[in-house]
Symmetry: C2
């Protein structure tokens, strides 16, 4: 059921709308539709909403592709996609597959989004498994990207090497990084540290990404958990279990500190006055860490652009997710990823 | 070469000194000796230093067990312990083994500390592999404990179950927690989420730690990375690879935020004045996260008390590490851990 025929050119993609799952996320459809309306009106990006008309309600003048079903946030992903063939999530993926949309965006059930994208658009040739690329802020610089942030709990060294290839292609297409660096997440700098998976991957990446080798990335060796913020490498490679735990540990720590500091600010009149002095300096920094500003995670390795937005996405998050989806589609992200992946015999 | 004869009673241990590796850590011997002096003078805890007399220098009146060698911070752990039989690290472990010290403390090479403790004191009966237990602060409550924080990159479900048993015994002995709760680090709440290791461990822990089962702990299910700070469970169980990455991601995020906020405080006179108002409230909270105040990590599963202090330990860190070592020794931590571990056929 994957793509029929040629992938559209970048020029053709620029004229196609981004397909937005109007029913995805905790704040759907209200905030989702509002975000889609804003990005269409303010950024001139063509958008099409997908959802059951009676549930979506007012589309603010945006076109709507009608469907009859919705996959719930907590529904079994594979089962949901298999059973609900006329769900908004399945339909946005089909619009990309069928050349009627340039990209898909959903803030819904992450597992179901991956399943719908994979089953409807299909894997790129030679890709063993798609992975999730999540941006990690680096104040004042382009973000680093963590791959895999949670798509594959179990990985092989060949998969991790492809994550490096795809992650490097992604930062090149999205941020214009000309010579991406790749680090491998481990528990020590030495190549002998870590699990067998990490040690074997280290050897493969060192062979492929040696400085001056002409490869599409430079391998800078192992990184540790403390290197994630800010990351010295443009791409951090790890399996989806470790990546998800590390990402959530980082997010949880930021949230915890935010709550603690906010509590201190609110203690009394003196601390409130001090907060008024500091907040104009702190808020712009804090904004770089807000998921709503990062544009969401990208599913790499499938034959189409698929942005997975945070389940708590508001209108601003959708504006940024649609922008990232549109930019990546029109910059030929899928072609770049396809060219970067060395086909594996495991694929 | 492990312990000869009976383990000393808690009463006997209270009269024995804590053996301190005077040459361990980036700030040895100066800060290490000063910390040992302070904890002896101010807390009345008997301490013996171990190191080459010419390198240790002034012992501030503390007894010194002389040795001739030092294992460097970056030396191969197993090789160092094997070759340097008269090193300070090996000798502190032997003092515990031989009933001449109640516990050992080192801020030196972590791998070599584990190797020395394991090879000289030996594993407790039935323990497959020792693990590192690291405290995670929970403001205003006793800390949670992460096991394994990095001793074993590769683990089996049977090992993780023992980490739960040992971690629960540790929080009971150290913090007086009467009904410890245990959570399993994964990438979703559902028992079906995660790696095969996590899924099998989930089933074993659910069978052993069911509420009301009379087990020494209650299993509360899977936790995610975002639950580490503050942890809803007293003990968080994971393999040493994931545990080390998560712990360092957490530490790195705290350090990053600290640097960012400090930078804002120093911007101009107005922000400095605001900082002066807030710091009296923020510093006590920040202190709970300083490794020097947490007393260091504990190696569980060996026949003796071994505290692994941070490599950057100063005198205050040593005071707290020696206090934790002494308290755990005199409260019979090793007996509690030995009683909690269900011997595995893999041991």
């Amino acid at each position: 059921m994957s793509r029929r025929g040629e992938r559209p050119s970048a020029e053709a993609l620029a004229t196609l709308p981004v397909a937005v799952d109007a029913m995805g996320g905790d704040k759907s459809p209200g905030e989702i539709v509002e975000g889609a309306r804003r990005v269409a009106a303010e950024n001139g990006i063509p958008v099409v909403l997908v959802g059951p008309p009676d549930q979506v309600g007012d589309t603010c003048g945006l076109p709507l592709v009608a469907c009859t079903e919705v996959i719930a946030m907590d529904e079994d992903p594979a089962g949901g996609v298999r059973r609900k063939k006329d769900s908004s999530l399945v339909r946005v993926a089909e619009l990309v597959r069928d050349g009627q949309a340039s990209a898909m965006v959903s803030a819904g059930n992450t597992g179901a989004t991956m399943a719908a994208a994979l089953l409807r658009m299909g894997r790129l040739p030679g890709v063993i498994r798609p992975c999730i690329a999540t941006p990690l802020p680096r104040l004042g610089r382009t973000p680093a990207v963590l791959v895999d942030a949670g798509a594959n709990a179990e990985c092989t060294p060949a998969m991790l090497v492809q994550f490096a290839q795809m992650g490097a292609a992604y930062v090149a297409a999205r941020f214009g990084t000309t010579a991406p660096t790749v680090g491998l997440l481990s528990i020590g700098e030495e190549p002998t540290k870590g699990t067998p998976l990490v040690k074997e991957t280290h050897a493969l990446l060192a062979a492929e990404g040696a400085a001056g080798s002409g490869a599409r990335f430079e391998f800078v060796g192992n990184l540790e958990g403390r290197d994630l913020l800010p990351s010295p490498a443009d791409v951090i490679v790890t399996d989806g279990f470790t990546g998800n735990v590390a990402l959530k540990a980082l997010e949880g720590t930021l949230r915890f500190i935010f709550d603690v500091v906010t509590g201190v600010f609110m203690l009394d009149d003196a601390t409130k006055a001090a907060a008024d002095v500091l907040l104009p300096h702190l808020l712009p920094l804090a904004a770089e860490f807000e998921p709503e500003n990062t544009g969401g995670a990208m599913l790499l390795g499938i034959d189409g652009v698929c942005v997975i937005s945070h389940g708590s996405s508001n209108a601003t998050a959708m504006v940024n997710a649609v922008r990232v989806a549109y930019e990546c589609a029109t910059r030929g992200l899928v072609d770049h990823v396809a060219a970067a992946v060395r086909p594996s015999p495991d694929a």
